[in-house]
């Protein structure tokens, strides 16, 4: 079957702020910014993964989400409920210093774990991610 992940979705509270976070702070590249009426398809990708589109999906009332869903989802996003994934870095310490200098909020500095070195950060909406550097062979 050879399935490959090509698109994924992160719920964000404001697409402009999210664009600034993922592009200017994390160093991602803008992939697509297409508007159709109120709908904005805004995707970014990590610089070395041009075929992985991450959709920065606005949490707002639409055909897909009624008001009740929007209110619930906004509350969950703000609360930090969602950990949408883990990022790998060749050097977590350097990445940590740079991201911190650019205003990214971390739970704590990088720490050695059994699988490597790891830390956790949040995006501007409240979603959290792991940032990890693997031990060789793990």
């Amino acid at each position: 079957m050879n399935l490959r992940l090509t698109h994924t979705c992160i719920y964000v509270l404001d697409q402009e702020r999210a664009f600034d976070f993922y592009v200017n702070k994390l160093g991602f590249k803008l992939n697509t910014d297409a508007k159709n009426g109120d709908f904005r398809w805004l995707t970014v990708n990590p610089p070395d993964q041009p075929d992985l589109e991450i959709s920065l999906m606005a949490v707002k009332e639409s055909h897909a989400m009624d008001k009740e869903t929007v209110d619930a989802l906004k509350m969950l996003v703000r609360k930090g409920t969602f950990g949408f994934g883990a990022f790998h870095s060749a050097n977590v310490y350097a990445a940590y210093e740079e991201m911190k200098a650019k205003g990214v909020v971390f739970k704590a500095p990088p720490k050695k774990e059994f699988y490597g070195v790891s830390c956790v950060f949040s995006d501007d909406s409240g979603n959290w991610f792991s940032l990890t550097e693997s031990e060789p062979g793990k």
């Binding site: 910014d33 297409a34 159709n36 709908f39 055909h63 050097n91 200098a101 500095p109 990088p110």
Partner: protein
């Protein structure tokens, strides 16, 4: 200062990298950058490469090429993009651009501008059906 091994080292090298990121369009050189990090030139190059997987000069070239890609995608002429990002000659720009992207600046520009125009004319062409369908949108 955060308490993890060599925190001071990473902070200094990172600051030098941010200096390159901010000033790549200017005629900077490695001596100036290593001075910002308070290292000798050779020590700086070695530590930079260990941390970032490329030398400061390679990173400088990459920053310039990345910015050139943005300018070309907006429709800038090749020579204008070359000079705007800090390359001093079209030949060195073209060589660095092709090495980094696999494409000539002109070919990249043509493909990027065409993609952008298609995005304006048919925005839903770039949206997977499962997403556009969920939002009640139908391609024209």
């Amino acid at each position: 200062m955060d308490a993890y091994p060599k925190a001071y080292l990473y902070a200094r090298i990172m600051k030098a990298k941010l200096f390159i990121d901010a000033h790549f369009a200017e005629p900077i050189d490695v001596e100036a950058i290593s001075g910002e990090a308070a290292f000798s030139k050779f020590h700086f190059i070695r530590e930079f490469r260990t941390i970032y997987g490329r030398t400061p000069r390679e990173h400088l070239s990459l920053c310039r090429v990345e910015r050139a890609k943005d300018l070309l995608a907006e429709g800038a002429q090749v020579l204008d993009a070359c000079l705007a990002v800090g390359f001093r000659s079209l030949s060195s720009f073209s060589r660095s651009f092709k090495r980094a992207t696999g494409s000539t600046p002109a070919a990249f520009r043509e493909a990027a501008v065409e993609r952008k125009e298609k995005g304006r004319a048919q925005p839903l062409a770039f949206v997977p059906d499962c997403f556009s369908g969920a939002h009640g949108l139908k391609p024209e």
